[in-house]
Symmetry: C2
């Protein structure tokens, strides 16, 4: 953080102003606001409330936070705010948090572990009641070393359990297998490629393993793999790579909506018709997947349910070490070949 100069705030109306205006002590103002601990005569209380309205007094939530030991804020660290999957997820988390009277402080990390660590430290300093973290890293332990263990933390978009922490994720292996089984079983494709993220993951992403597994179960040979960024640009690059092979696949599973959108662009540029010349199934189920051309058949993640679970876990902290795994749902549109455009 820089130390550019910030001018002081204008003076806010205080409890003392209200007390002076109403002709009572500051303690009486507190009793009226907090409905106790001591009773206040109805006429006096009415005078205090009138003063509060007239002066537009806002009780200082930070002072209340200090007394009560809660800031009523949840911190959310987003590794990739440019991905609509995460912004849709963040909006759902914000709505859930608000339902519990909590505000959401969102910190956007923009893709590096160092920035994530800095942002997490900043949120911890702000004494948020808990943290929800979507990390770029497939290895949260790299981040965890630096964390204050006094704050409940829930990992979202987690491919698996995070030892010592609560986490929420969607079963990527199973989702990928569902997508590929649809392409091989219903549409009889014999060569299914994959455009997948996890370039820096030594064991490959679970979605890649689900794709492998589905092909094996169907008695098919492995198809071609493009490991690329989790982005439209990544999908575009991976698409061109697979489609320029001597024997290009007739179907591709893309491991995120964004990658599928990039892949579609590559297919269009090569003059391929989707689904006639190339079938595509993606994973995520964002609004964009419904409106790209052709509309994508996807395995949709249950964003609303996952958001509800993450907020509950971070606030009640009842299962500090559980892994809550969700299953995606196949949503049929046009890119697989079920419905012609």
């Amino acid at each position: 953080m820089s130390d550019r100069k910030i001018p002081p705030q204008r003076r806010a109306v205080t409890r003392a102003d209200v007390a002076r205006y109403a002709g009572v002590s500051t303690a009486v103002v507190s009793y009226v606001i907090n409905k106790g601990p001591k009773p206040v005569a109805p006429q006096t209380a009415a005078r205090v409330r009138e003063a509060i309205d007239l002066l537009n007094y806002q009780p200082n939530i930070n002072a209340q936070a200090l007394r009560r030991g809660t800031t009523e804020m949840i911190g959310l660290v987003l590794s990739d705010p440019s991905n609509p999957f995460f912004t849709e997820f963040a909006a759902a988390i914000g709505g859930e948090a608000f339902g519990y009277g909590h505000a959401l402080v969102i910190a956007a990390a923009g893709g590096t572990i160092d920035t994530e660590a800095t942002l997490i430290e900043d949120l911890v300093r702000r004494q948020v009641d808990g943290l929800i973290v979507a990390s770029v890293s497939a290895r949260p332990d790299l981040l965890i070393r630096r964390l204050n263990r006094n704050i409940p933390i829930v990992w979202i978009d987690a491919p698996g359990a995070v030892p010592g922490y609560a986490s929420v994720g969607c079963d990527g292996r199973r989702a990928a297998a569902m997508a590929v089984e649809h392409l091989t079983g219903v549409h009889n494709h014999g060569t299914v490629g994959v455009v997948v993220g996890g370039v820096d993951s030594p064991s490959g992403d679970p979605r890649e393993r689900g794709w492998e597994q589905a092909l094996r179960s169907a008695g098919l040979e492995q198809g071609p793999i493009a490991r690329v960024d989790w982005s439209r640009d990544g999908g575009y690059e991976g698409g061109h790579r697979l489609l320029s092979l001597r024997n290009p696949p007739t179907a591709i599973f893309a491991s995120s909506d964004l990658q599928a959108v990039g892949l579609l662009r590559a297919a269009h540029e090569r003059g391929l018709r989707v689904p006639e010349d190339l079938a595509v199934v993606a994973f995520d189920g964002t609004k964009e997947s419904e409106f790209c051309w052709p509309p994508l058949t996807v395995v949709a993640q249950p964003i609303a349910e996952m958001a509800r679970t993450a907020v509950r876990l971070v606030l009640d902290h009842s299962k500090p070490q559980s892994y809550e795994q969700f299953v995606g749902e196949l949503v049929i549109r046009q890119s697989c070949g079920c419905q012609r455009a």
Copy 2:
């Protein structure tokens, strides 16, 4: 907000713990942390810092906020978090705020003035240092009545000046005129329709007026209008409406990227080729506009500059009543006909 029960936080390490561990008074711990006001002997200071590290003590930023009169937080109210233009804008604002040592508390309103008002009141109670608001309403005065005037407020995505407030916006009239002049001047279209938002705005959106003005300047008759939601669904509906006319336009200006994406889907469904059968120019310049099919020619809003200006205005509050207007930039891609797919 509900009053569902929230369990108390685990006990945090306090300044007293640090003092006890280091064998000094709590005042000395403060002097070390705040580098003053009194000097501390180097050996003692080293012992205090060691204790801080060992106990992982985090100074309470809320207590500091009370003393200094700043929470180092900026509140952002987003009317439509489902629109990538706003999430890209929010990410840019977050980055700027962080550069000043401020966190961003984001509240997503989801489209009604009542929710916006509630969220704004919540942020004010949290004593944020300032508010940045993107309102659904073309009439911020409806919201302003309820606002605490002690907090600096900056309106973003503002179509014009907001009396009594600082505001930031992009010249929609000029952007629309640029888009339409490109369609009539460079591509010689004689009938240019418009898919535009502002259904509830009595005078029409500035983008609609820019479209009218450009047609008038070119000596052309008015084209058909579809006033719809600022969404993909709105653009889809508006597209079908214009394209099913007896004499459909050969070119359409869409007043947002999202509406253009919906319009493209409608065109594809009707078997129209873009740009051969229908030329399209949109407004916003989000990443999605680059990756839909065909890639959209757009007038791009200068999101980074607008974010920088909004954060500066809300923090230094030097121009509490200015309107900072930006101009969009024409980005040529394929949907207008300049580059064939």
